[in-house]
């Protein structure tokens, strides 16, 4: 689990790697807690080879927390087979999803301000 500031002080980026499941969720869980204050959290999944509903639930829970404070959790770099879990459960329509982390950060810089409320 790598996390870094996202170019703006109110944006944080988490880079997920490997296989995310019940037994390996602890680092993501604490990273999400550590970054709960960031207005915008971008979770980059380009390095994620596997994710099941345990990972999905963590991200959905973080999304609700950020939403409640006027922030957002956005995703980037979903690859097969992770993309399939998000597609089948409908989570693709719930999160703002970007091709890659650069697109996510560009979008935050240009087309909309930070702290934007996602409907």
């Amino acid at each position: 689990m790598e996390s870094r500031p996202g170019g703006r002080s109110d944006t944080a980026v988490l880079l997920l790697k490997g296989e995310l499941d019940h037994d390996t969720a602890a680092p993501l869980r604490s990273a999400l807690r550590r970054n709960a204050e960031a207005t915008r959290l971008v979770v980059d999944c380009a390095g994620l080879r596997f994710c099941d509903s345990t990972g999905l639930n963590l991200l959905l829970r973080a999304r609700l927390r950020h939403l409640a404070r006027g922030g957002s959790v956005d995703l980037s770099g979903l690859r097969s087979p992770v993309a399939r879990v998000f597609e089948v459960t409908g989570a693709l329509l719930i999160f703002r999803v970007y091709e890659d982390v650069e697109a996510a950060l560009d979008d935050g810089m240009t087309t909309s301000g930070p702290g934007r409320r996602i409907p």
Binding site: E19, D21, H22, D23, T24, F50, D52, S53, T54, L56, N57, L58, L60, R61, R63, L64, S80, P81, R84, V85, V88, T89, G90, A91, L93, I94
Partner: protein, 153 residues
């Protein structure tokens, strides 16, 4: 009424005891991946949607067994013609109970929803004081009794 022998169990079965160690969920995926490759050849390798789905659903069942199911104790993999049948046994008499209507944004209830959506069939059965939860996926569609699963892919 007796006389005719009971047909044999599915041609190939693998049983694995589940322990308390962290890493069991992934280990179950790995065992399933290995069995799929050995049983179904190229069609049984990751990247094929049935295989990816099977690994995901194994993960869901084993996770549920650890989080809801008392003590999980067995992963059982069965091959029948072009299908994989997976059972995960735990000691809890509680049964899997799909949450009401599935809601994409709610951080719960996705496990059984995925099971329902991606398996060919699923269910549970009593086993000792507890139960086994099972699912089936079609790895090689339309494979009849006489086909051989080695040419595809």
């Amino acid at each position: 009424m007796t006389g005719r022998p009971v047909p044999p169990a599915p041609s190939r079965t693998r049983r694995y005891a589940l322990g308390e160690t962290a890493g069991a969920v992934r280990e179950c995926r790995d065992l399933t991946r290995q069995a799929l490759r050995e049983w179904f050849g190229p069609a049984g390798t990751p990247g094929h949607v049935a295989v990816d789905d099977a690994l995901l659903l194994v993960s869901e069942l084993v996770t549920n067994a650890y989080t809801h199911g008392g003590v999980p104790y067995e992963l059982c993999l069965d091959r029948t013609d072009g299908r994989l049948w997976v059972q995960v046994s735990d000691t809890s008499p509680e049964r899997p109970r799909p949450h009401g209507r599935h809601r994409a944004g709610r951080p719960s209830g996705h496990g059984l929803y995925l099971l329902e959506r991606l398996s060919a069939a699923w269910g549970w059965l009593p086993r000792g004081e507890g139960k086994a939860v099972w699912f089936e996926v079609v790895v090689i569609p339309g494979l009849g009794d006489d086909d051989r699963p080695t040419v595809e892919g």
